[in-house]
Symmetry: C3
Subunit: 675 residues, 3 copies
Amino acid sequence: MKALLDDLLYGGDYNPEQWPTKTWDQDLTFFQTAHINSITINVFSWALLQPNEKYYDFSTLDQIIKKYAAADFKIVLATSTAAMPAWMFKKYPDVARVDYQGRRHVFGQRHNFCPNSPNYQRLSQKLVEQLAQRYAKNPAVVVWHVNNEYGGYCYCQNCQRAFRQWLKTKYQTTGRLNQAWNLNFWGHTIYNWDEIVVPNELGDAFGPENTVTAVGGLSLDYQRFQSESLLKLFINEKKIIEKINSQVLITTNFHGTPNPDLDYHQWAKHQDVIAYDSYPAYDTPAYQTAFLYDLMRGLKNNQSFMLMESTPSQVNWQAYSPLKRPGQLAAQELQAVAHGADTVQYFQLRQSLGAQEKFHGAVISHANTDQTRVFKEVSHLGQDLKKITPNILHAQSKNQIAIIFDWQSWWACQHIAGITQDLDYQKAVLTYYQAFYQQHLPVDVIGVNTDFSQYKLIMAPVLHLVSGKLAQKITDYVTDGGHFLTTYFSGLVNETDQVYSGGYPGPLQKVLGIWVEETDALLPKHNCPIKFTAGPKINGSLVCDLIHLRQASSLANYAAEFYQGTPAITENHYGQGTSWYVGSQLDAAGITYLIEYLKQKVPTLVPLAVAAKELDITVRYQAKQKYFFILNLSESVQKLPQKFLDGNFKDLLSGKVMTDAALPAWKTLILQQFN
Amino acid sequence: MKALLDDLLYGGDYNPEQWPTKTWDQDLTFFQTAHINSITINVFSWALLQPNEKYYDFSTLDQIIKKYAAADFKIVLATSTAAMPAWMFKKYPDVARVDYQGRRHVFGQRHNFCPNSPNYQRLSQKLVEQLAQRYAKNPAVVVWHVNNEYGGYCYCQNCQRAFRQWLKTKYQTTGRLNQAWNLNFWGHTIYNWDEIVVPNELGDAFGPENTVTAVGGLSLDYQRFQSESLLKLFINEKKIIEKINSQVLITTNFHGTPNPDLDYHQWAKHQDVIAYDSYPAYDTPAYQTAFLYDLMRGLKNNQSFMLMESTPSQVNWQAYSPLKRPGQLAAQELQAVAHGADTVQYFQLRQSLGAQEKFHGAVISHANTDQTRVFKEVSHLGQDLKKITPNILHAQSKNQIAIIFDWQSWWACQHIAGITQDLDYQKAVLTYYQAFYQQHLPVDVIGVNTDFSQYKLIMAPVLHLVSGKLAQKITDYVTDGGHFLTTYFSGLVNETDQVYSGGYPGPLQKVLGIWVEETDALLPKHNCPIKFTAGPKINGSLVCDLIHLRQASSLANYAAEFYQGTPAITENHYGQGTSWYVGSQLDAAGITYLIEYLKQKVPTLVPLAVAAKELDITVRYQAKQKYFFILNLSESVQKLPQKFLDGNFKDLLSGKVMTDAALPAWKTLILQQFN
Amino acid sequence: MKALLDDLLYGGDYNPEQWPTKTWDQDLTFFQTAHINSITINVFSWALLQPNEKYYDFSTLDQIIKKYAAADFKIVLATSTAAMPAWMFKKYPDVARVDYQGRRHVFGQRHNFCPNSPNYQRLSQKLVEQLAQRYAKNPAVVVWHVNNEYGGYCYCQNCQRAFRQWLKTKYQTTGRLNQAWNLNFWGHTIYNWDEIVVPNELGDAFGPENTVTAVGGLSLDYQRFQSESLLKLFINEKKIIEKINSQVLITTNFHGTPNPDLDYHQWAKHQDVIAYDSYPAYDTPAYQTAFLYDLMRGLKNNQSFMLMESTPSQVNWQAYSPLKRPGQLAAQELQAVAHGADTVQYFQLRQSLGAQEKFHGAVISHANTDQTRVFKEVSHLGQDLKKITPNILHAQSKNQIAIIFDWQSWWACQHIAGITQDLDYQKAVLTYYQAFYQQHLPVDVIGVNTDFSQYKLIMAPVLHLVSGKLAQKITDYVTDGGHFLTTYFSGLVNETDQVYSGGYPGPLQKVLGIWVEETDALLPKHNCPIKFTAGPKINGSLVCDLIHLRQASSLANYAAEFYQGTPAITENHYGQGTSWYVGSQLDAAGITYLIEYLKQKVPTLVPLAVAAKELDITVRYQAKQKYFFILNLSESVQKLPQKFLDGNFKDLLSGKVMTDAALPAWKTLILQQFN
């Protein structure tokens, strides 16, 4: 086990190679003014480091590292392999990807290397060898940042060849493959591995990338294969660095909301620390950002993560980028810390003068001065972070409730043709997350391989793909006293996207005590009323499962349609535990009531606070201390819950005991409970 | 003339090759429970039948046929040529189509063979030879189902070569071609046949496939050529089968609403029986489905057709697939019978576990039991169909009114650039169809080559393309006492999409007694009021033709715009008959009033019933019996017209004389008039 | 300097090659009836003129020219190079363009020649040599019309090669290029010119053509390169003609609203006379058409231009083409004359019977008669034009106010990623133009190279790209007493799309006396109130610049948001002049008030009339005469301003002194002030 960071990093991406060296000195002074203690460099420097295949030039990078190391900055050093030099595309066209339309790309943009290009593999690894030999033992380099925001797929001949091999290894015989993917459908039966083609617009696609295709099993395996192909690149770079320095932290920056292309649960095993680029849009609700932070924290079982990128001002890729309001910057950065971040890093420290991101905000803007509003807010936050570092660094987050977020189910849902096009895996998970978040019942976001026994309640909305092993794990969890909740569209398919024969929800029928015969699709804006046996009438939407009770009992019945009076939500006592099935998408009132009900059934579920739905309230623990992060992430004044006004809570930032219930817009409190 | 089916087939598509043989026995029992007497097999089995170019394997198919023949099932045997094996794409890439974007496709999906690929032609015919030799004399095989849902176009070099040859045969000289397509426009004049290129996105297209292109004549001929190329494939397969058994029924399944790619009037001549795959969407109005059935029946001058596919439950390709409500299944299947179907067949008998259609409904669902709601409804309908077979099988449908639906005019309209983009050929036809349907004045849907003398009134909305021969046929029909109605955008172009010089509507000016000088376009949601000389003021939309009366008189004038007071609807007495021209798209009130007027002018037009607009009412005749099909295809109770309550109508299904006016949702009556 | 046209041309595009010769005689008579004195021919005849590479055939063209010359028609002779013959695509595929998707096109459509194809260059020049030798000295040929509506870009290998050479000439070293485009961003650094690739969908594009790309400098240079490549084709054709006849007028027809692909300011230098194809849509507001005419007139410093194309009736490419209302045709043609046109030409004189434009209107319609409404209106206008020719031909238009329209800023804006996607360069310019137009303060539309000293007030909304030289020119203009107004998003980038370091708006900070620190983006339909210091409260939208006053003072402050009370509009006295900066998009009330304010500050700004916002009022001057064009371009009666009713204004068309204030729909007055 490698040692974690020994300080809270404050800094971010810095591209000094875009400016003359005299600018570097000015920048260093600015950074120090702003309490910035770290820089992330070399993210896109391959073309500078290697002007042609035979020649490397590290002189500029040497200078940068030397200057900043001398000034005690902690350096996050990228490997630069995310953007290939122009000469490489010219010399080795296969390094570029072939897109879903079947078109080979040329030099341009970034993040466009084919993961199965032998030339890319060789040239990128050579570069990393050079970098590792030169800098891996440099104590200023505290984290290696491999590549950048891995993502996207390739559909080239090299990938196709490697995919066939991957399938051969996995299925052994074409017969097994034919069966696994049901290839007798539409006469897709194959007899040789080289009859398999990549699933793209020229082949099996029915719509844009990662939507409906003819053979779900094929597409699902292709996603796994591409995710693994990219992961292999990461692992190979990592190994090269570790050969020189086995103790240095190595990671890559995850991204997206989240990234749909990579199974981050699989990737997380290979990261020394999770790093995440967080870019909430101007209209992203705070709970969604919180969810993503909890997801990142959950990837390595609640280990703190790095907030590797975030914007100090506008992003450049939004349709509309309103300025961050005064105070908004600090509040949004501290939300990451509240949910488990141990670094606060920006993209970017200095704003580009030209090219795609020239209007992406920066600590040092085009005005080239420390007299801007943004610079001053960055400095102020730097001071605050310094203040709280002793309390917060490595502090733990840990909850009794978990919600499953699973790339395999997400992927399987993407390829579904039928019933309703509005099925949205992420939305289904977020709906439950949001309800718990607003009730200040914090949840961990976990994968299917996490140890379930840590949790009192596990929710798994739309757990569409359930292997036999997972079904057994769930069953065991409930048998042993666990509480498990799942919904419509769960348990339908196995690992190769084949529906379980014998009734829905396949291998979960037993633990849930039900049989779902049919699923009605509701049109957009249409509802079906649902009446809780001992509660209110609320609305379901999206779908209504037609449920037969086996061992389960009904908590709520449909109150309309030809299935009026039949179960909509069921409860089953199984072994020492209980399981629930929710056959429709509940409205807010429905989920709220369901949570009230669950709180009675799972009595250890106690909210951190009551009311104050607009606040983000979470806790980090260190030693025996408990720090409540209370964030007003709205543009209006909110009311602090009464419990924090009892004289026992002191704000780390102001040093004051809380007495005033009014929490201004964008205000953050970090309350230490001292009694 | 081949003999028609001697029983009403009840069954549908069955793909036993997707399951182990032990499932087959269970399925057979299920089918018998449900009164299913027929299976359609081998639709997508090419890859199974022919693992490579040199080897065929019919063992599985033999087994299936043997088992079901032994159980007295009537088999509809497909030729399997609609989905090519993967090895074929690998070995002969030219079997795949090149799309409108100019991209050669690879293995995937289905229905993607190039009709002019010599390899596809050779290999598909070889397969059919094998099948024919093996099964064509098997008495259990009552219908051959060639290929599947032919459609789509190819734009490859083989097609281009064949197209040039096709043009050379048609036009003889490039000079004639230049003139026919007006190629001096935009300097398109050609001198050699090999200067012609397929009209696609890299050439003459201005928009997506089958929309605006630079040269309408070229695009129109390419559609004819592709339709004929596919038809040739059909004919070739048919010939092979007939060589072995000249008496067996051979067809292919038509589809779409309808399929825009093929001129089904041309295709119909080569079908022994019309077969149609009917998939009304959840929100398809009943009259549209009725129209499609009437169109299918009209393709072979009112010969009964096969309902070759329909879904027992959800389809998998809709945005939203609500469940069929209790009773809806039977009502929808019987609507086909009401309009002339002599089979009721499902896609599918058993639901796939994997791949694209896994959520398409089936008689035997994933639950794998006969205890589902759907299975029970299927069984009940099976019983009912058995009951009515003696009365209904081969019963005739025949009406006095016809509406023309013409692929040539449809195609020509697709390429129009100008006046209004909202011109919609199908909608124009359906608007008139709907009005007559709702007034229970059933119409036959015919082609331009149908014998017109059978009808008292022929309507031809937007008959855009009118050859000189057709103009003469219409003129003769009216001369001989016929009643003919047409509209705006009719008679404008000849067979090569050239506008007739000398005024609109070209060669129809004489029989209509008018000259249309200009056509005003109305914006969406804008109307122009129209006042009937002796009737109400109603609204026109879409376009307003500016009409000069020659011999005609005005029935209605525009009541606004600068052409206020000029004719909007005209009537012309010509020879023994009368013709009408409607210069704008009328609203419902306008068409209703027009029908009232027509009923006075064409006195034999007597509705089957009055009121009850929501009901589908039609008649089939057998011997001297008359069977009224009265379908409530709505979700609410409807009122049965009074005339059926006079004690003279007995329902074939219940055996009861009608006494109650209330017709529940989805209720069907088949009333025999016994007095 | 060549002599200008000695008569007002009335006529337009005529394609007799689409009809048999007997039609030509009839047409000639029709033209004479309609007072048509000119035809534009040979626009798309290449394929007819040159059946193959070795053979030319001018016999048909000879005949046409002979017939019309004999009848005293003035001929506008096109060079036919805009649509290549089919055989040329077959023989030399490189003549066709490669599109933004990377696809080589084939024969079809028109305007699709690659400007850097050596084969196209050679073959087109050879054709023009032949034409020039044959007709350049023919006195009937009064104008040469080179090619047709140049536009669009190519992305082929020939273009790529030529582009690399173009860049090498411009930047000399790759080092300078790397710096100019900031290529160290995303590791785009290049070392050899052949590492540069065209910016298309396979390379640097983030969206459709001419939207966001990774490297703005690259895309901007590619637009310049393509514009110049096409211009070179024009220049080469022109030189060939001038070699034979150095005095004949040579032009090409500009188009679009306007054409976004070509920098017409650069092109205008090479035109003997500006020619413009004007196609206002049915819903184009009259001020937008006026703007385009003023832009065309401004391209050669107020020299009269040719209205080279316009439709006598419907266009064929609109979604909906309502008919022109009675009188509308004349009013719309005369609007061009009012704004500086010295010709009135139609596309087209005779309507095609087939192909893409068969429903585009014509003087002689499909009806093939002179008895149509359109023909009669055309004739009437012909008579009127004859009447006014002595007064109007070569009459000058000249104004005291100018607005800058600059292709370089437009292009630079296209590639911006960030702040707001709603930034619309044209809309920004039009908003100011419209306000002045409606107040009858006519403006000239000029380029950045126009002599500024001619104007009292110059407006430059969103002048995004400002070279150092231009900044100096603006500064000098104000120093010398000029009045200059600019807005948000101005002065941000230099000629290579690099942001000026040191604060916004870069080199305009000094003359404006301000520093803009940040730019807030407003969401669609959101406003920010702005309060004029001594005026009303109005609304800003799109963006709000956060402005620091240096030497400037505030005219108006934001009245909401966290920047409430800070300046929104500033005024700076600089040298002898004044400059204004408008930090947000003002609503109509805001601009109206601003104009009132400017009228006080720039006292020579006196409207031509007050009230009557719906009228188009402009003036042309000849000798000492002043002709007021007063056009009612609306569908309702408007009121003539009182000043024209004082007995001093006589209408050239009716010959009457004005006494009646009511101006019917589509009525035009040409008032000569005789006192």
